[in-house]
Symmetry: D2
Subunit: 288 residues, 4 copies
């Protein structure tokens, strides 16, 4: 492989009915192209009549992506009744962030982005408050202030959608954005809007989870990152975590601890999405 140009790494995600020959079919297809399989993970819901899921990282020279994809569709995907998607390492994802005034999730995302852990571009930050403008602009990130009130909600949502489209956004992270998105918004970005729910779902769905956790006297509090659907707090869960608490923690302490869990859970979910590790099936995720 001396003097070869830097090769592209393709990430293939597939879902199809389970049957013998899937791995052989996919791996022979890429072997015949001279590609090397760097990593592969698979999951079967049931090997006899279930579904088969696979994520494969493939290193190859790609002169013609469209040709590759058409060939894969014909030779592999159609015969195996496969749903699939492919992502390329030379096409960096474009991530939008929507945020209100809590800074912890935004700051964590930005720090990890600066440190190179999140390999995305961030062409747009949208907020209904001005409070976090400086945190974004000081890093050269465009900050769009779209305040929302009872009268302008639909219009401001449209303005947000316009921004996402104009910048060709791949996915949006709600980093404690305290407005509920309308079905019209959500439907345009299926499995492409990630929210952090400040609670260990399904417990304490809804507002004020820390107060509810305090009142119930639970010994653990948590947070949940999920894809947004039009069922509030019911979208496919990507990641969750908890922290231990006790009677010593007042509601304020729970909020403080909760911030730490929220920012960790959200960034882990965002990282998994960026690395094409998440397949949604029904209302559940497979996170490879």
């Amino acid at each position: 492989m001396q003097n070869s140009p830097v090769q592209t790494i393709a990430c293939l995600l597939i879902c199809c009915p389970d049957r013998p020959g899937i791995v052989a079919g996919v791996s022979v297809f890429f072997f015949q192209l001279g590609a090397n399989i760097l990593d592969a993970s698979q999951h079967s819901t049931d090997p006899r009549e279930g579904l088969f899921f696979m994520r494969m990282e493939i290193q190859l020279d790609i002169a013609d992506k469209a040709g590759l994809e058409q060939s894969f569709q014909e030779k592999v995907a159609t015969p195996l009744a496969m749903e699939w998607q492919i992502h390329y390492s030379d096409q960096r994802k474009k991530m939008a962030i929507m945020v209100s005034s809590y800074d912890h999730c935004l700051m964590e995302l930005l720090w990890r982005w600066r440190s190179g852990e999140l390999a995305v571009d961030i062409p747009v930050v949208i907020s209904n408050h001005t409070k976090l403008e400086k945190e974004c602009t000081s890093l050269g990130l465009p900050f769009h202030y779209l305040p929302v009130d009872a009268g302008n909600k639909a219009a401001q949502e449209q303005a947000a959608i316009d921004l996402l489209q104009q910048h060709d956004i791949d996915f949006t992270v709600l980093a404690r954005y305290m407005q509920i998105l309308s079905p019209r918004f959500v439907e345009q970005y299926p499995q492409r809007i990630i929210n952090i729910h400040h609670s260990f779902l399904p417990a304490f769905a809804g507002a004020r989870p820390y107060l509810n956790a305090y009142t119930r006297g639970v010994k653990l509090i948590g947070a949940t990152a999920h894809y947004v659907t039009n069922e509030l707090d019911e979208g496919p869960i990507i990641e969750q975590d908890v922290a231990r608490v006790s009677h010593k923690h007042a509601v304020d302490d729970l909020v403080m601890l909760g911030r730490d869990i929220e920012r960790q859970v959200l960034t882990r979910a965002v990282k998994a999405h960026i690395e094409n590790r998440v397949i949604v099936h029904g209302n559940k995720t497979i996170v490879f």
Copy 2:
């Protein structure tokens, strides 16, 4: 303290309106008796108008427990409007176990009891199945088989209550006992029946929590130990914990992992109860 007889360790639990002078009042009372405070923990819900909770371990010579308690009531508890209880290290608690046919919680309790971690006597094990009889009798524990069906539930419950009373039981552990106790039973043992709920409450209350967790696609499963009240699954939580799961875990795997969490959470709760570390206030616990 040379040649002194082995001293008793008393464990005092108090709850009273918060105000200056409580610690001074209690500690002077015991200092004047020549006692040594081995350990103390306290908690205030709010120092100005809240409640004060304290657990204190005191080493002292007690010839006359009734006299000590009367004196404490008069000199300390009454002036400070205190609710209190005292336990003595020379009075080992008597624990009953009720179990059906899952063995994991029972086996864990028995192993820890044999290894000296749980300093209790176990005069009674009650089961509505015979499956675990040998596990108990081989350790010399009396095993009472009280099968329950639609027709005899009330009578068998009364037989169980009779056993508990006959053996002067201090508290009962439901180690996966798959019958719901009647209000009549529960009311006789307030804060003295510990249950393990095979779920991270309040999520997935009710039956089949592992199936529910699987269906919802959660990334953590858990278990909850709580005191039994007549609100099903709503009693004060003593301890909780979780384990991380993924799409790789089938429902059976969740059940298997769940067993591990259940037995750990239950034994931690039982140990805290035995060591007089739990104060119930309203529907919450303070676990010192």
Copy 3:
């Protein structure tokens, strides 16, 4: 697949120089036999010049295992310079346990074995003490008492080796066996003796780790399961875990907590070994 006989599941573990075509070669070989790949995991130390490791679970009808293996060697393994092993679900592993007088690791292994989590046979338990005899014989397990003193160590080791050979033992678990095995013993069972080290290696290698941890004032204690080599405490690590401790924990408390970690870590390592999830490379493990 109607009316087919119950099929065997084969588990293939391979290690070879990384290059394109390995997955294709293996998967086509098995596809042509009509087999279905149930699960596959792979790892590359470096895709350009590194090593490739893979674990594959394959469901197939096998009339002739020797023929299958010879064919795989010729068509796949030799061309790819592969080291490999294959295990079959219809050949249950035979596990020996060696134990001294601490019961916690033994009891945990036996409970998980009885509950079906550890799919092995246990034809031999060997101990240099009699204390745990009843725990084994009550479950129908043969218990061999081989006391060791300065004069008979070599002879008793030989007696142990004879037992292992006589029962065709696949691997041995040292469940807190407090004798150091001689090189002669260890060399006969490379990567087939699993030990639990009551410490988070490499910290506190050697005896009395809990005292050392206490003296150093660490805030976490741990345990390590590893394959035994002739470098004491230096064998490939299979699994580790820790528990949080504080100044409140006396040395005795650390021992008690340590027991819990030891039994969890050991059983996880044993389970991974039984399920053929561990590949040793040099002094490290890949645990799929």
Copy 4:
């Protein structure tokens, strides 16, 4: 307590030989001053001949701190042979930060400081690099660039000491400061310099712990926050934590994960120090 001025909260830390009457003596002293004990924690190494440690939060009106302290010394501390210190909530601690070019610990400290979790002033940041200057000055924090080379180490250390003294610094945090402080520096600030060691001490003491952890194949990596002494990496441990790793993690991944543990462990240790929760005894800490 109506219309009273805002009261000071004093935090008392004591260490003395254990004997009856300590809690009584301290609590009566403060009760007679009209103070309210908000929180108290205690620890005995051995109630008969050991040492007694206590942390007490006391709410009181203090017109004359020097008078209070003199009175406490005479009436309580001297009779009980007590070492003690007292801190007041109206005297905010002054924290210096020393940092080189890794930003993760600094950014975490600054974020928590801005969010109100760390109740300190930060009059000085010192660095031997310029890389993180903007991160400090944009928050209004004075950034002092003191580059170190073989020839100027002693002089630059003296410049740092001068800055700390000039600003009356209470304690210094080494937020990945990659220079070893001289004994002369360390001796001036006993138990007042907090370092983060990028390893789970005592394993992998020294440089390159992540490479060492990778080479040894451990399944957990960790970090340790400790007070700096002149025994390198041997000072009293304040806090530690670990993260689970596997063969999938290259050295770079370990470094990335390690950063997350480092910043969490360091900020927890700094918070404990600020809240006067740490007592050092010998080479160990009691963290209340």
